[in-house]
């Protein structure tokens, strides 16, 4: 038997703060933290990140051993690494990230559709633009936040153990952070677009994976039929490989700047437009 409060106290003092983007974004983040998927992937990515750091550090110790005083010279000699090594610092996290994007991003809009939460959101001071930007922002920030330590971690470690002569370029953040931005935006837009097409979070996951694998298959077929590698720019997985390669100046990237920019832009625009149309207030039946 519930106990009812004798009275409802008056509303607390304070100015009205309308900031739907922040509130929606933070709620998604807190919800992810509470879910098993969030904890599982958090553990996996932290594990992979630590492995990367340990790899660099152990190699350093093995090669230097007692001659720690001459560490900088040895490291410079042994760890002389090219652009491929720098660009490869994001592997294999960037592959696994597609699964996280599907698991988390697939349900972002689909869950609201299933439980009919969106009409209630629109019954608050939230414009459809705010809703879409918050979902897109969260789906983009998630891969960005996960990939960022893969740039900064090895870079800092390299600086600490070998200074400017370390295996990781001193200027690496300037190369890779601009690369993970379009990668994250590509993943985020694809996730919200595919999620908006789904009616349940589970089908949202299938939609994201289906779109990624479907686009990859179409790109592969067109590439095979025409022998033109530029068609591979339809493949979002390969696009995410191309950006770090181009930004680090790899000698033979999977394809050039034009195809990468065009492919990424096409995906981002298409999936944001799909999500925009699917989240209009006219779709929200009260």
């Amino acid at each position: 038997m519930p106990i009812y409060a004798p009275t409802l106290p008056p509303r607390p003092e304070g100015e009205v703060q309308i900031r739907p983007l922040l509130v929606l974004f933070r709620f998604e983040w807190q919800r992810l933290q509470r879910t098993k998927v969030g904890r599982f992937f958090g553990f996996i990515f932290v594990g992979m990140f630590l492995t990367k750091l340990i790899y660099i550090y152990v190699r350093y110790l093995l090669e230097t051993q007692a001659a720690l005083k001459e560490a900088q010279n040895f490291t410079n000699k042994i760890f002389a690494q090219g652009a491929h090594f720098q660009a490869g610092l994001l592997d294999p996290a960037s592959y696994l990230l597609w699964f996280l994007v599907a698991m988390v991003g697939g349900g972002l809009i689909a869950r609201d559709t299933l439980h009919r939460v969106r009409p209630l959101i629109y019954a608050h001071p939230v414009r459809p633009r705010d809703y879409l930007l918050a979902k897109l922002g969260f789906a983009t920030a998630l891969p960005f936040v996960i990939l960022l330590p893969y740039v900064l971690g090895p870079w800092l470690l390299s600086l600490l153990i070998a200074g400017a002569k370390g295996p990781v370029w001193v200027t690496l953040p300037l190369n890779l952070i601009p690369a993970i931005l379009p990668m994250s935006l590509l993943m985020g837009s694809l996730a919200v677009g595919a999620s908006s097409l789904a009616g349940t979070p589970r089908s949202g996951i299938a939609w994201v994976l289906g779109v990624v694998l479907g686009a990859s298959a179409v790109a592969g077929m067109l590439h095979g039929l025409t022998d033109n590698v530029q068609f591979m720019a339809l493949n979002p997985i390969v696009l995410c490989l191309a950006w770090p390669q181009l930004m680090c100046g790899v000698e033979r990237p999977v394809f050039g700047w034009g195809a990468t920019i065009l492919g990424t832009t096409a995906h981002v625009v298409l999936w944001i437009e799909v999500a925009r149309r699917r989240t209009l207030p006219s779709e929200a039946v009260l």
């Binding site: 009205v16 703060q17 009919r116």
Partner: protein
């Protein structure tokens, strides 16, 4: 509080407007919104929330014109409890009520404090940290009410708040509605198909059908509109000749085995008896039928009935 002036709302591409020529002036209090499916109740709520722009006419809610940029911010002053679940299943009642509070403009700290208060108010204090997926129907309805009042709105829309509740649960919910009105001072718009619920809490009534206003006004005044309605009971069923002559007394609404519901042309109650004597019938009972709210609804929804207004 709410004012419509020949308001028309049309969905894009729809052949006819969803709301037609709506002129209304609702005062503070509890307003019952009645009408069958497709009457335009949800469209009216959408329009009031500023989600639909009027295609013609004007509307004003809490002094803000509908269809303007300010209408979006107006929603911070409105609470809405939808008919359907609309709950975030994997989240506790506390977390989601705090979330809705923040979305309505409360600061994070205030929203958290307020979530505790309103959940206590609706009787969910002990269950507030459990995910709502494990809640009973009554508890879910109360979470919905809590999220609607967390920011102490000036205007509260409740869409079928007693849906799926047992009689005791309905009683509790209606008590809460009255307490919200009393303690928050909010104007409540209660959309329901249950006349008994509306009758218990509403002091004003709006009846819609097919997008048109069928009746509006205070409950008391609307009841008075039925003052001419009487049931006439005769000792013997009337002969065909007597039945043909019955409209001399007024409009015959219903006839069943010696009983006739009439809308009397004049309130001279000796006239039916005189008519019976003249026509050779024996009138044994003359019963007023203007005490029931459902009579207002039934009459309002009859085809070709002009809009009834019982405003003050």
């Amino acid at each position: 509080m709410i004012r419509f002036d020949h308001l028309e709302v049309r969905y894009p591409g729809a052949p006819r407007p969803a709301l037609r020529d709506l002129t209304l002036d609702l005062q503070a209090g509890v307003v019952g919104l009645l009408g069958p499916n497709g009457a335009g109740k949800s469209t009216l709520l959408k329009a009031l929330l500023g989600l639909l722009t009027p295609s013609s006419g004007r509307g004003e809610v809490l002094g803000v014109a509908l269809g303007t940029e300010a209408a979006a911010r107006l929603r911070a002053r409105i609470g809405y409890m939808p008919e359907y679940d609309a709950l975030i299943e994997d989240t506790s009642a506390y977390h989601q009520v705090a979330f809705w509070g923040e979305l309505s403009g409360l600061s994070s700290e205030n929203a958290r404090d307020r979530a505790h208060e309103v959940l206590y108010f609706v009787g969910l204090d002990e269950a507030r940290y459990r995910p709502v997926s494990g809640y009973s129907t009554g508890m879910r309805q109360r979470v919905k009410l809590a999220q609607a009042i967390v920011h102490s709105p000036e205007l509260l829309f409740l869409d079928e708040p007693t849906n799926g509740l047992d009689p005791e649960g309905r009683q509790r919910m209606l008590d809460l509605v009255l307490r919200v009105r009393r303690e928050l001072g909010a104007t409540v718009i209660l959309a329901s198909h249950l006349l008994t619920d509306v009758e218990r809490v509403a002091d004003q009534l709006v009846i819609l059908d097919k997008g048109e206003l069928k009746a509006a006004g205070t409950v008391e005044n609307l009841r008075k509109l039925l003052a001419h309605r009487y049931e006439l009971r005769f000792l013997e069923p009337l002969t065909p000749e007597q039945e043909i002559a019955l409209p001399e007394l007024g409009i015959v609404l219903e006839a069943r085995q010696g009983r006739y519901d009439l809308e009397l042309a004049e309130l001279d109650l000796s006239r039916p008896f005189t008519w019976a004597v003249q026509r050779g019938a024996t009138l044994v009972q003359l019963t007023p039928r203007h005490d029931r709210l459902d009579e207002v609804l039934i009459r309002a929804l009859q085809p070709a009935t002009p809009a009834m207004t019982g405003a003050n």
